[in-house]
Symmetry: C2
Subunit: 345 residues, 2 copies
C-alpha cells in the first residue's frame, strides 16, 4: 500500500481561469520546478487545453521535458536564459531564453540571431536580470534582436503595502519605455493581486495555480493520503520515536505511518496533524525518514490511511507548522508518492 498524492487538474485550470479573468493582458502559466512538484508533463497539457499559450520554466532541461509533453505550439520561456552549453537544447526544442545579462545577450546574438528571445530587467531585487547600465551597454544589440518579451520580477508582491512594489513598478515603467519588446510583464500571482496597473501585457501566475497564498481564493489542488502500517497501545510514560522526544501522558493509541522526511514532510514541522475525515490526529515524536507516528487515541475507528494535505490542512497551514511557505511544501512533495490526477486533462 502506497501513499497517494491526488492532484486536481480542474482546480489548477479553474485557478488559472480565475487569475486570467483578473488579468488585463495575456495570462501565462509558470510550471517550473516540475509544476511546483505536481508534474509538469501532466499539468502543462491540461493548462494548454484550458487555453494557456505561454509557459515559463526555470532551466533548459525542464524546458525540454515540457516541450516533449506539450508538443509544438505553446511558447516556452526559460527564466535562466541562455547559460553556457544551453544553445542546442533550446533551439532544438524551440525554447525562448529570457536573457538576464549582457553576457547572455552577446552569447545569444553571436549564436542564435534570428531566433526569438526575451529579456529580464532587474528593477531592484538584484537576483536575475539586467540593471539600467548593463542593459544600456547592449542597447543596440537588444534593438536588433527585437525581444518578444521584456520582464522583471517583484521582490515583495506578497506584501501589498511594501514600498518595493511601487519602486519596482516605477523602475520597470521607466526602463521599458524605450524597449522594442512586443510584450511587457512584471507580475506573478502576487502582482496580479496588486491590481491592473501591475499587469502590463502578460502576467505569469505560478503559486496561485497550485492553490497557494497569496491567492486566498484559490481552489485547493492537492490531497495527500498516507497509509497506516500498524497501530499500538502506549502506556502513560512510554516514549515514541527518535530521541525519545515524546512521552505519553495518557493511555494512547499510536499509529505508525508510511511516509517521512524523505517524502518531503519537512523534519522542521511541529504541531501538525493527520486527518481521519474531519478529525485531526496529532503527529507525535520526530518525523523519521520513512515514518510518522500519530496519536489516534480519540478515533473510534482506525481507517487504513490518514490525510496530511486536504481542504483543512492546506499547503499553507502545513507550511506555517514547518516555519516555511506553501511553495516549499509543494516543491518538496516526494518521489515515492503515487500520483493520481483527477479532473480535466
Amino acid at each position: 500500500m502506497q501513499a497517494t498524492l491526488t492532484i486536481d487538474l480542474s482546480a489548477i485550470c479553474d485557478n488559472w481561469r480565475a487569475l486570467d479573468a483578473m488579468s488585463s493582458g495575456e495570462t501565462a502559466a509558470v510550471i517550473k520546478a516540475d509544476a511546483y512538484g505536481l508534474g509538469a508533463a501532466t499539468v502543462g497539457p491540461a493548462l494548454a487545453a484550458a487555453g494557456v499559450k505561454t509557459f515559463f520554466v526555470a532551466q533548459a532541461n525542464e524546458a525540454v521535458i515540457l516541450r516533449n509533453a506539450l508538443g509544438a505550439g505553446p511558447r516556452i520561456f526559460n527564466f535562466s536564459g541562455l547559460m553556457q552549453g544551453d544553445d542546442t537544447a533550446l533551439t532544438d526544442h524551440n525554447i525562448i531564453p529570457v536573457l538576464n545579462s549582457a553576457t547572455q545577450v552577446e552569447r545569444f546574438a553571436k549564436n542564435l540571431t534570428g531566433k526569438p528571445c526575451g529579456v529580464q530587467l532587474d528593477t531592484g531585487m538584484n537576483r536575475l536580470g539586467m540593471e539600467t547600465a548593463e542593459a544600456a551597454s547592449v542597447a543596440m544589440t537588444l534593438h536588433a534582436l527585437k525581444p518578444e518579451l521584456v520582464m522583471s520580477h517583484l521582490a515583495c508582491a506578497d506584501e501589498p503595502a511594501h514600498l518595493m512594489n511601487n519602486t519596482q513598478f516605477a523602475a520597470f515603467s521607466a526602463m521599458t519605455a524605450m524597449m522594442p519588446a512586443t510584450q511587457k510583464s512584471l507580475s506573478a500571482t502576487g502582482g496580479i493581486l496588486l491590481g491592473q496597473a501591475f499587469h502590463f501585457d502578460l502576467t505569469r501566475p505560478g503559486i496561485g495555480l497550485y492553490g497557494g497564498l497569496p491567492f486566498k481564493d484559490a481552489k485547493p489542488v492537492v490531497q495527500l493520503d498516507l497509509p497506516i502500517i500498524q497501530v499500538r497501545d502506549v502506556l502513560p510514560g512510554e516514549i515514541v520515536g527518535y530521541g525519545a522526544s515524546w512521552k505519553a501522558a495518557r493511555p494512547s493509541k499510536i499509529a505508525t505511518i508510511s511516509s517521512g522526511y524523505a517524502d518531503g514532510i519537512l523534519r522542521s514541522a511541529k504541531g501538525f496533524s493527520l486527518y481521519a475525515g474531519d478529525t485531526a490526529c496529532p503527529v507525535v515524536g520526530r518525523v523519521s525518514m520513512d515514518l510518522l507516528t500519530v496519536d489516534v487515541t480519540d478515533l473510534t475507528e482506525i481507517p487504513t490511511s490518514l490525510s496530511l494535505l486536504n481542504t483543512v490542512q492546506t499547503v499553507d497551514v502545513l507550511a506555517r507548522c514547518a516555519g516555511t511557505i506553501g511553495y516549499e511544501i509543494l516543491t518538496s512533495l516526494g518521489g515515492r508518492y503515487k500520483r493520481d490526477y483527477v479532473g480535466e486533462n
Copy 2:
C-alpha cells in the same frame, strides 16, 4: 548548464567495508529512500559488487525497483513489512517482508506461508514492530513461519550515553531468547559504533555508508556544484532577494545561482556558503525556489560554478545551518541535478 551532483561509489563501498570490519556478524546495507537520495539503482549494484548480500528498503515499491537493479541473488528486506495489497509485488520480486504486527503476521501466514519472512520487535521506540504481548499472541504462527531475521531498532543510538540503548539491548535480548529466527539484528550505523555487544548476527548501516554522522570516520560521498547564471555589482544599501531581507553593507558582487529550495536546498538554511575551491562565499538573501544569491565580492576570479557540498561543507555542516540532520540534507537532494557517478561500479 546544469547543477551536478557527483556521487563517489568508491567512498560508499569503502564506508561499508569500514563498518563491516567493525561488525561482528554479517553487514547488510540500508538503501531505502532511493539510497538516501543518491540512487538505489546505481548504489545497490555497486554495494553488491563490494560484497553486500542483504539489503533493506522501506516500502514495497522501492523493493521492486531495487530487485530490478540487483537481479536475483541478494536478499531484500522491506521494513514496512506486508501492508495490504503488497503480496504480489513482494512475491513476484522475491522481497522479504519484515512483519511488524500481529495483523501482518496473520496476513503473511494466510497468503504467503512457505515464503521467507523477517520479524520486527519493538523494544521501546514505539514506532515499528511488535511488543512482547503482541508477539506472544502470534507465537505459534511465528514458530511455524521460522523467520530468517528478527530485528529491532534503537531510538537513541547516536547518543552513546543514553539510557535507552541499554534498555533496548536488554529488551531485545530477552524477547529474542526464545525466537526461532536464523539471524538477530539490532543495530544500524549508530549501534555498530556502540560496540560488538550490540551487533548480534547482522548489522544494518545506512547513514554511515553515505558519509554522514554519527560515523565520524566516514569518507565524504557527495560533491554538489551549482552553476552561476550571472554576476552583478550591488551598491551599499541595495537589497537582494525576496522580502528585501539582505542589504549590502559595502560595494558587493552578487552571483545568482541556478538552484534553490525546489532542489532540496532547505529554505530554513542560514549562514551557509558556496565554495570557490577553498574560499567560502556567503549565501545572502532568501533561498528562492530555483535560485540562490551569493556574495562573491572577495573572489579575484569568478568561476562558472560554486560548490554547495564538498569535503569542507559536508552534509552535516549544511544540516546544522538548516537546523536539521545530514540524513534530511541527503534525502532532499533534488531531481533536477545531473547525477555523475564516479569510482567503482
